[in-house]
Assembly symmetry: D2
Homo-oligomer: 363 residues x 4
């Protein structure tokens, strides 16, 4: 039940870091969507390690194989199964953690919950699991493209370096032109230096990713327990290392009053179809339902738990030991988290679109 | 589907602000729990308006009637149905909003989604809906009490006034002794003054509520898409006016490095059952699964949208109008949000306990 | 979780035979449906006891109170909560079964599962629970009426007395004109005599109810695990005393070959919109999906377990005892099962319609 | 959503007859189960075509590859992904059906629902989809074995040839020694002759499969909408060609009265743990909950729709055509349906065991 995400559009995923493959089943894909495999691979490539000096040096090819649900280039309405073979195993790198509970990893809780764990590379708790999300997210994006919805995420903070102002102040396409994925090239350079410095010390650093959804039709999201922002929060906090979520810009302005944060309506055109809000502090969602304005939200990620420094911990028997991670690890999860945030957002929006509109994208 | 919350422990709720009643069905209550009706009413009373000058002056009695699922004072394992009659209607207060889209309310999105709306007091989007949550949360608390779990929330920020330090620095029981529900009496006094000042201007103010869960057994929560903190985030963001969620304390310390934020394990006693973490930046959840430490998280609430000031907006036809709210409204949602946060947390924890341990609380 | 039925259109119900009330929450009602309360009460009245000499002599008024989700006479899209107060308690009638496990009742399994049970009138396992289904089914019928779907059930067998031929051979409206609810008046008379005879001996008798759905659009139902007939089977077997389900007429013709049971397609009009099947052995569903022909299926009900005769059984301690039921009971569940079968069918069809078409009945 | 089966133990499957692979994700497998791959392959082999002259002559190797969720030979509690490559494609065999709606197949409904279909070998509606069920069912059986539950199905009727008496009158192990899978060797021979005769005419024949579950603990199944038999009915009717379901033996004895069909309780040993029923007409489930007696039920299957004879139908444009199937097809689905019935039953029972007892099989 809990390796599935979504209601009508649903990903069920499987796979461990060092098992045979990562994969999944994508259910609820509307029929007749052109399945652009290059685009899907492109989305996977945005996530893969080894893209720059800021990410881990591990080389993982991560070629997706789509196994079903596609006929003559289009989705058939039947589930799309897929796998990505795991290729680049360095099991030897992990022998030292076999009996150790790494600080702030899932080793301890998995062992307590399941009685044992696949200790190779974090097993199921590894961020390799997010590969499956990127595949499903890419397919969701292909569907959303047909109804005019775009989803764009970017790095908005690394450590103390915070992008100033609003997403509206930047050309978000710039984000993909630098390894940090920040739409401000100058700040991106500073962020890169900070990450490099932290990496040099064997340490890690956290930050924030902001995501903007444009073109979302009015009326997605359900009152009370299916609020669109609550679904987005659940989606974002299912990503490894995520610690916080906020939407709109009110959390950053708690010093402001209601009168300052309310979004007044006005008519941009005659009739009811032109009703807009002058400001968008709400973040495109009111009463849990999309209002037609841009949806935007921010997810906070902690520093990666794996530091290349000696740490004190205990082993399986509770004996105190000293542990020092080896191998190639991300000093900062942010740049690679960007496509994962987009993927989860795309799945969420498409899911609620289907709940609202039924299973035929084109009627 | 979306007026239900939870998997095995599930509240399905109904009711509008000015309808006949608020109520619901609580499914999955383990059999044999002593149903302490006074406690349930007490939890409802903590939420009700008119408790102090800081909350709305509306008087709502909100007496719960439990209609099923209880026999000889104990839960039977069958669903508990309940209603709370709506008594104190001032429909006249709302006639001026019948045709208006109030800024940052759900009027516009409900009308767009459903074609019409119950405009009396916000209808289903009214915070009166949270009464049902308090009833279900109280019953969840009664069950959790039997397995040693406690849940305590408090106001940790109002506007710019922020409680310093950690929840461990305070006697949380103090929170219930002042109308703001802040465990620092002095700060509570400042907060109360600020709220009073804002109220005097017809304006509103937001802030944050922090919640601490103690005694949660190790192993609750599911990897990948059922992470315990993701479920808590979804729960909290389903509350009216909630805009953000974070757990642990890492979001407040983005300037820190991984080596500073990791929680080292140590043995508090011989054997594996004594394994603890020296710090708890993680907030009691690692890899999505409870690790036996205190769980704590913070929810951010926006200023209430209803301000007693003139605001520009449009009516149902898109015509620009000026609107001024009347009636009695909360200048700050925080004090009354505290029991709602606790209720949602209690439901979430019990739900995951049942998934983990099955439907018999006592075996 | 298990006191809820349906996905997007969902009833969550509560209530025991001798508790305060039966009730529920109906979620997913499309907005803008005219809620005809007289029709809802009429459907309840079709189910109520005491309608004729063939049913129990208990008088239960069963007035439904709709508590939410309706504004100015129409559904708002918000959940409809409702209760039916339990009025006619004869608790004394049940004192003799307090410590006994009645044969083929749920007394034993409930006690084993929950540790105790509400022994008054069967508690939650009482057929009074089906009142809630009739309310939700009536509302589903009101919605289906707007899209041209009709649902009609009738008694097709009592004991060995079996209606011959197909539903197409009868005027189904006749069923509501006799107390057995059989569309063949002559057979209905025979059935009534048989039930009366069985009742005279304190015994009970089973039979079958057939249901016909007309006007169901093509394309409802999902391949593999959401087949429309599988959903109908689950729905029917959730009704008290139901033991079997079959759809189409192939189960009755196992002596026939594939070549005889296949339904050939033909064109009733030019183009693809006129494609029909010449026969309808399939029962209107092929590959789990409605094909536009009439859907029909039959549910088998056992004889009511409560017989007014001495039976050997054991008590709570496993001691052998002799038990003789008292009070007023149905000798045959069939006539009153008819509206319940219709209600469950209506909920199922509307649910799958919403999955297919989204939440707006009228666009 | 609808390519998934189960709540806590859940199969999500994918794959078409002539796609690259069939596969799925099995979620909720309790940790620590010894995963006996030979047994899983054995279960698949029981289902595969070409086992005898009574089934299709197609040779399909159907080797399962388990891709995750297993470490050092045991389940880890993480999802088990798997694929079975499709090897034996005879696409040419299907070119004649590309534009035709085969009678009583899913061609028409799929095309209407999805706008197009994968016409090769039935695509997703092919019975090859059931391979995934056999894999998940085999894993469920491995788990159930550890708690003493056994599941055995057999052919109980072919055409008019019906096994007399009860399952208790036969050595069910005999079923696996003949190609029909009937526990009466003599009747099996007659059934085989009948199937051979039907096959010789290019025709097909239906029948019934009965399934017996022993060792099921008391208390599985949920009142009202989660009745164990309703879940079994849904499971069975999700199998291709299934048309009916019944449990216990009351449907076959509608001529009997309640007093004859009731199951009296008695004490087989002192105390409450020895309470049993003298007869078991109920089929091991009372009030929707298992009572500790054997659970048994029967599923009716129609004759396979593919007959090697000329049939009249229409093409995609509604033009009338004559169609004659080619290739190798099953004249009778029964023998190969037996392991699929067992698989679906195993998944259902384990799912409800987990709901009842939590996710740890061994504590």
């Amino acid at each position: 039940m809990f390796n599935s995400f979504g209601h009508l559009f649903r990903l069920s995923s499987f796979g461990e870091s060092h098992g045979t493959a990562i994969g999944g089943v994508i259910d609820g894909v509307p029929a007749g969507i052109l399945i652009d495999e290059e685009f899907i691979q492109h989305e996977l490539d945005r996530r893969k390690p080894g893209q720059s000096k800021l990410t881990t040096a591990r080389k993982e090819e991560d070629r997706v194989q789509l196994l079903s649900g596609i006929f003559e280039g289009c989705s058939t309405g039947c589930p799309i199964g897929f796998i990505i073979l795991n290729a680049n195993h360095h099991s030897a790198d992990y022998s030292n953690i076999k009996d150790a509970f790494r600080p702030s990893h899932a080793d301890f809780t998995y062992t307590q919950k399941y009685g044992a764990r696949d200790y190779r590379g974090g097993g199921r708790s590894s961020a390799r699991e997010t590969i499956a999300r990127c595949v499903a997210g890419a397919i969701a994006k292909l569907a959303l493209r047909e109804i005019g919805v775009t989803i764009t995420a970017y790095t908005s903070q690394v450590g103390n370096l915070k992008l100033q102002g609003s997403y509206r102040d930047y050309n978000l396409a710039v984000a993909e032109t630098n390894p940090v994925r920040c739409p401000d090239s100058m700040l991106a350079e500073e962020m890169a230096q900070l990450i490099t410095e932290v990496k040099g010390k064997g340490d890690t650093i956290g930050g924030r990713v902001t995501c903007v959804i444009t073109g979302c039709p009015i009326g997605l999201g359900e009152p009370v327990f299916g609020k669109l922002h609550a679904a987005l929060a659940e989606a974002m906090l299912s990503i490894n290392a995520a610690k916080g979520f906020e939407y709109g810009d009110i959390c950053d302005h708690l010093d402001q009053r209601g009168s300052q944060m309310n979004d007044s309506f006005y008519s941009s055109a005659p009739g009811t179809s032109g009703i807009r809000t002058r400001t968008n502090h709400s973040g495109g969602i009111q009463g849990g339902i999309s209002n037609g304005e841009d949806i935007y939200f921010t997810t906070t990620f902690k520093p990666v738990a794996t530091v290349l420094m000696e740490q004190s911990t205990v082993d399986l028997n509770g004996e105190e030991i000293t542990l020092c991670a080896k191998g190639r690890h991300d000093p900062c999860v942010l740049p690679r988290a960007v496509p994962i945030v987009e993927a989860m957002a795309a799945m969420t929006i498409l899911d609620f679109w289907l709940i609202r509109n039924g299973q035929q994208l084109k009627k």
